[in-house]
Symmetry: C3
Subunit: 495 residues, 3 copies
């Protein structure tokens, strides 16, 4: 009797299991590929099998825009209301993406009978993902290259660091920084300007073929200026041909650029309790679900959950909406400038002018260029947005205590920078350093470290609760030691 | 014929599988929640869904103290012999934990009809986990805040590092360190003193509610002083509402505080062969098993296996017993003080008095305050305990060779600190530095780095076999370079 | 009707599943163990259960050389054509490996009736893995200890760093470096010389037993000199008794030695897009497949894929062949020496003589010792091999752009070292530093950091696209700052 029950139970289970399996198989079988994409695949599976397999495993290979349009508002992964007819009912394949908008694409070229763009740009992805492309285009990320190049202050910092140096007559001579040095350091993250230099012939296993000759390529920096004039590289976070939402949601992606010593976001996260839980339990979480359910899909936040993902409760109530402008939940900017300050109104921070006439959000001693920065109302709004995320796991009092501490840390870290600035001013006044380039002498480099490394680090550590980065690792220890060393160096030089 | 065999085999398999599944389902279905806990869940699943889901996935949600008491001695996860009757047969839920021992809890408050404690303290967890709470209460971890605050030497180090600095008349002026700066740096790991300041009103989506107004909150430092007077935070290692043994056993947990440059335990582990195997194979290990079977459940140790877990052989023979006093298998203390020394007898290290009258385990030149430190017999006993763990995978000769090297490293690293101390003494004697605060000048900071960073690092690297931390990364390279730089700085200052 | 279909489907599925399970079980049931190995296991499962379990999970426990010989050329994991008869049809067990070639093994000893070698050396593994042992024996890794010890320049660097220092009369005195200090730092990776000192008695739970007394043991450095005279330790990458190809293919293994600041290979990889994808998706990859299929088995490379694994396309076309000489796909050497240079012809780099008569691949100012280095033709060949790997995922133009940048970075980083060398020469000429030991003074240490840390880092960052290591983290920022600090130190000393 019991045995029969068990067998029946088994069959029920089996049924469930096999139905589940069937459903999954249907998805895997997937939609039709266009004839053109099939032709790309047939050839490239021999020549670049890695990306073909990558794409075959992607959602783009298993869905069509039409299927995407049919999803509910919360489940939708595409944001455009209408999609060109020819793309609607085939998989999102090689041909579909690499041939869009050919006319602005300077990198468009004839390739075995097709007119192909080398680079798929945000303007191309916009065909289906219009909201994301729009949000991104206004962000600091989209303008990341211009932020360095068009702002004389940062441009000078970049040039000073990356210029080749020679020693002549016991003096250090700064030569011009090469495109190469900037490309592989600062611009690797900020993006390069991809220039079309003409056509060139390359030798391949298929014989010589003509391809566009591109400058500063390859590059996937977030502010890349593409050959079609658009800004950004979606592949910076959704890499290569898998376009994976899982990868973008995992902190390793952000870690490529948000690393100590200058932007220790990932390092602080790793050391926080959130990072501890992530590292211990990530294998059990649902990384691909849209919308992303707090508690159900994941039990501790990653960079994406706090900063840009659409989050819902297990009952599908929306907590915060999706954004691809990554400062939309940030009220204060704690990195990259001499002092912290309210977020800039525009992503084009090189358009700021402070009282000294420089494109910086504060003066040398910390006075805000307020007209270029968001006002208190907007700051409160954004802080409230962020608090909504925190409060899905933490009580109101907890969150309040956390932010009160953070706000105080911002004030104290800025004061520790001001002290360093005063020492530098003194050295300049005494002729112990030369103000003409504020970035090239040892004392000035210590001053840079005070704000760009240590004050940043303490603020990140406070914001995300990674204590070592507020203590011995780039934190208060370094803030205090560095100040002392600046003082001693001035004393030794002045003897 | 073969086919019939296969089908029979299938059915057998299916039977096993479905029985396995049933058993698992029974656990998942789990015990009854108390009515009170159910009421908490009904409301909080809307307001803090993250922690509700976290708890629902926890063992606490799927078991009762009664079920725990029924386990064999080795399998038991609770150590109290008797549990209050009202807790026995319901899941370990919100109400059960957050309402224990209300009278000492200054943070107890009326919350929608219940008297709730904000913080569940070690004294509350002790209800079921008495052995663990007892062991912990004697450990250095439980006294981690007092160790900094009640010892004038360490208190002065903390104040010197975290005090706000101003520049006045080209001099650095140390202001008083704020609670805030200490809270987010040193005390983030060591724990804060949570003071009850009274009641306050907070705005929530349910309207304004009254909650306790707590100082230095939130904090999960290991030596937190709780509003009920108890010391410690079990959540430091068993975070939030999953109370996961898996998370506690994974090294990312320890990594939150045991990080370079001052306590590079995690960094050295990551770089060791143990860490290499952990990172490569952890996904296949059984992280939740109690008792934990060497070789069966895991093939390389983590922090927990060596330092505190109950370990058994695959045949369930006990190798070492569980302890929540994390130095019970440690004979020598290799971090945090100027010189290495035998482990202190008591976790209250601020009660030590050395020959100079300071609360340090050695004098300035390394003489031991022996009466406060464990004797040779106890050292041998603890080393033998640790060796038992090593010898589950390594032969006697291997283990002997390893510890001989480690013991020699301890001696040599202490000598490298002594050399730095002698240079500092010289500088003080020559008036090139001011002894009144031994922690604030550049030369003194180099001396601190010699023992707190580099000598520590070399010892950790030796103890756990992570060679880079004995070499170029905070190791012998830095020990030697730092000494040379101290020498040069004295020379330049003395010119 | 549909229901019947489903049930039939279920049974089909079940059949497949159960057959798959049976097949797997057959492997698990595995081959016979030799009687001797069985005896080892019977005893050691009580005394060192960890390694017994480790071995039981290994491929060696589940296969025989005979089974290995039967595989196709691409699938083969052993490379010897003939295997001794007595080993052919039993599992590769304790007895089989630990008793090979007893006569050269100074560490051979009588152990409960068997003559056992403590250390299984590359010469023993060669019995089945002859091609790998041959390749390895010519590599720099095999000679890693000699490279430090037999080259007076590097030997002096090691001694200077690891020597114990005393302060006498305000001067730093370098004592002789202990074997111990070298063993746990430089030689931990490079390997120690394991000397046989005779026999010794150790106390075990089985009573006192006699075992070989070995010097500098334990050690798993890649250039270990074994008691049988062979060089290397296969366990450096295939650790302990699992001999796992999965572990060897995962970058954590290489990370044990290839770490910042001196060899930041792992750090740069972690930060690269390859590392980002690895960290995000590794749990889905097939880590044990031989041959390893690009795209199918993994979607982003690890250290092993680029540097030594046999790679094939999904259609099993060979891309690159397996090698255990890890520089066979490397044309330029970017680490460890003052300037970058073409790879040495021989792994015995201590045999090089440059124009100054030193065993270095370049002179002090960068002139190549060309006759000891591979020629342009070989450089082109190796670069082409590496490009084959890149081109499985990246187009010709992409790969060309990447390598052009890398080649330029090599030139620029060498120039930044030359500038530092010129400052050092000046200091020596002016008597501000003493050339007799070029490694012990603060200024000289800065010069070392310029080439050993920062120039290395920039080149790695360029080669593997981890931008922070070309920028603020040990990159151009440090190259420029360090140069400036050398300049300032000379100025201060010369005042």
């Amino acid at each position: 009797m019991k045995r029969i029950l068990v067998v029946l139970l088994c069959l029920g289970l089996l049924l469930t299991y096999s139905l589940g399996t069937r459903a999954k198989e249907d998805v895997t079988a997937g939609p039709n590929y266009s004839e053109e994409t099939q032709e790309c695949l047939d050839c490239h599976k021999s020549y670049t099998p890695g990306i073909v397999e990558d794409w075959l495993k992607s959602r783009h290979a298993r869905t069509t825009p039409e299927m995407g349009l049919g999803k509910s508002a919360l489940e939708k992964r595409i944001s455009s209301d209408t999609i060109p007819q020819n793309l609607l009912s085939v998989a999102v394949g090689c041909y579909e993406c690499h041939t869009l908008n050919p006319s602005p694409h300077q990198d468009n070229f004839e390739h075995f009978g097709y007119q192909v763009n080398v680079i798929v740009s945000p303007n191309d992805c916009k065909t289906c993902h219009s909201a994301e492309a729009e949000q991104y285009s206004d962000s600091k990320k989209a303008h990341a290259l211009d932020i360095l190049q068009k702002n004389p202050v940062y441009n000078s910092l970049v040039e000073t660091i990356t210029s080749l140096k020679e020693v002549n007559d016991n003096k250090i001579v700064h030569l011009k920084a090469s495109d190469n040095a900037k490309w592989e350091s600062c611009y690797a993250c900020h993006g390069t300007r991809i220039n079309f230099r003409g056509s060139k012939q390359v030798s391949t296993t298929l014989g010589d073929i003509d391809v566009p000759d591109l400058d500063n390529w390859p590059n996937q920096g977030v502010g890349r200026v593409n050959p079609d004039g658009s800004q950004g590289a979606c592949t910076a976070c959704h890499p290569r041909h898998s376009f994976s939402i899982e990868i973008a949601r995992k902190p390793h992606t952000c870690a490529q650029c948000h690393l100590e010593p200058d932007v220790p976001g990932y390092n602080v996260y790793k050391e926080s309790k959130h990072g501890n839980i992530f590292d211990s339990k990530k294998q059990e979480w649902n990384w691909g679900n849209v919308p992303w359910k707090v508690g159900k899909d994941f039990q501790a936040p990653t960079c994406a959950s706090c900063h840009n993902s659409l989050l819902v409760t297990p009952d599908e109530e929306e907590i915060v909406s999706r954004t691809h402008d990554f400062s939309k939940r940030l009220w204060v900017r704690i990195l990259g400038a001499i002092y912290s300050h309210p977020q800039p109104k525009s992503g084009k921070t090189y358009e700021i002018k402070n009282k000294d006439g420089l494109s910086l959000p504060t003066t040398f001693t910390g006075e805000l260029a307020s007209e270029y920065l968001i006002d208190e109302k907007e700051q409160t709004f954004r802080q409230t947005e962020m608090k909504k995320v925190c409060q899905t796991c933490h009580g109101t009092s907890w969150v309040g205590g956390h932010f009160a501490k953070f706000n105080n840390t911002i004030v104290e870290s800025d004061k520790m920078v001001l002290a360093a600035t005063q020492l530098l001013l003194e050295a300049w006044n005494m002729g112990l350093a030369d103000q003409s380039n504020p970035f090239d002498e040892a004392l000035e480099q210590k001053w840079i470290a005070q704000w760009l490394f240590y004050a940043n680090s303490v603020r990140y550590a406070s914001a995300m609760s990674g204590p070592d980065y507020a203590a011995f690792k780039l934190g208060w220890w370094e803030l205090s030691k560095n100040l002392q060393e600046m003082h001693d160096l001035i004393e030794l030089k002045g003897k």
